[in-house]
Symmetry: C2
Subunit: 283 residues, 2 copies
Amino acid sequence: MLGGAATYISLAAHFFTPVKIVAVVGDDFAQEDMDLLTSRGIDVQGIERVAGGKTFFWAGVYSQDMNDRTTLRTDLNVFADFNPKLPESYRSAPYLLLGNIQPALQRSVKGQMNGVKFTGGDTMNYWIKDFRDELLETIRQWDFLLINDSEARQLSGDHNLRRAAAKVLAMGPKILVIKRGEHGAVLFTRDFHFMAPGYLLEDVFDPTGAGDCFAGGFMGYLAGRGIRPMDAQFDPIELRKAVIYGSVMGSFCCEKFGVDRFRTLTREEIEDRYQEFKACTEF
Amino acid sequence: MLGGAATYISLAAHFFTPVKIVAVVGDDFAQEDMDLLTSRGIDVQGIERVAGGKTFFWAGVYSQDMNDRTTLRTDLNVFADFNPKLPESYRSAPYLLLGNIQPALQRSVKGQMNGVKFTGGDTMNYWIKDFRDELLETIRQWDFLLINDSEARQLSGDHNLRRAAAKVLAMGPKILVIKRGEHGAVLFTRDFHFMAPGYLLEDVFDPTGAGDCFAGGFMGYLAGRGIRPMDAQFDPIELRKAVIYGSVMGSFCCEKFGVDRFRTLTREEIEDRYQEFKACTEF
């Protein structure tokens, strides 16, 4: 079925801001999946279609409590040779969110942008472990880095989250968001940190993509409000709200299989859940 | 060294309200430990000293990340035959917090009270598994139950925390607080829930007793404010504040070995940390 970081990020972010995808697919990519994206106003001009190629494929199985997953199959297919080229119309976009891919490619995408004002992205254990120097060179130029707790520990070499965050912030990013799965997320800057709880779902149907939806909600909100990194430093309330919107989008993602929740989700439901977050954390 | 639920609860609660301990020790219990309690104004008249007996002893080792612990030794000693008898001066106290012990004994203590208005307590997996009927009969009469997430799952038979909470509330308690260790705590009533994050410590030195300090701060705050269960239902803000004060006390507990942090802790430090909780959760 339809999946992938770019898909989840776009479907979450488009509620807040116009979105342009850069990605690669094979000619097996279904027209109805492309239609879902375009029906939401998502710009797909940057989706490269490789003739005769097959789309990236992943299959996995979750543990009973949904907190662990085992990969059954990963076929990189056309993703293996992906070298993102931005369409001319993309290059002047002010916000850039870089999905998890080889750090050198993330840097190449940023290099193709003209005057981008807010850059952030994701990475994973593989790049942290085997491409460390390349990764450090890349994130040094980012405004924010968005990773999970085990990645933060691996990147910093420190188990304690607060000390780990301080070490990662010293590597360059002005903002670090650490995702903790069902336990929420913590945003760190040099000046403060903000903790958002994980939304307590009655049923966690499928957590696949929740972290990407968090990223889409977080970046989407900042972009929609026109926040610049400098603003964020002087008005941290917008960063806090962005974390909550990220959490809201991640929570919706888990409610149905794959991207299904986004087929019916409305802006009103998003606002209601934002208010629920307020109600269950205020004191 | 000095330890035990009653010790941690009292040292946390006395910042908010007068405390009377009911407990049993052997004649090996050190005078300097008794002095620590009395120096804080804690009433120790209900501490029974068994001549020729030895005090309960526990030893354990924590995992590297402090999230798991292995018991090395548990000697029940005089605790094995403990049958709490309340001094006359204790019986009219309005607030009763029952530590983790055989549910029939918890019920017997409550039975010795005259007109107690707010009763809550703790339990553990052993009573949930092997004394289920006795436990259910006991907690049916409580205003609140305070357990950790795995105990809530075991008691309810439901892995999902929200559904588990609904099932536990249907067993009698009006209020359920689920402790999640480093991930904070969630308070549930039939009408709402409230989520407190775990305080991000720079160093977790020793988490022993943190859950008991949470209980002491939670109950201590409610008692200090004179909250009745009925008030709590109509003014949930006090319950929320109680959860935060519980979290504050639990966080201090982890900063030093055993009860050492309570030798120097001040009310001002408690208020400062309460404000820190506000600052890192408000949006």
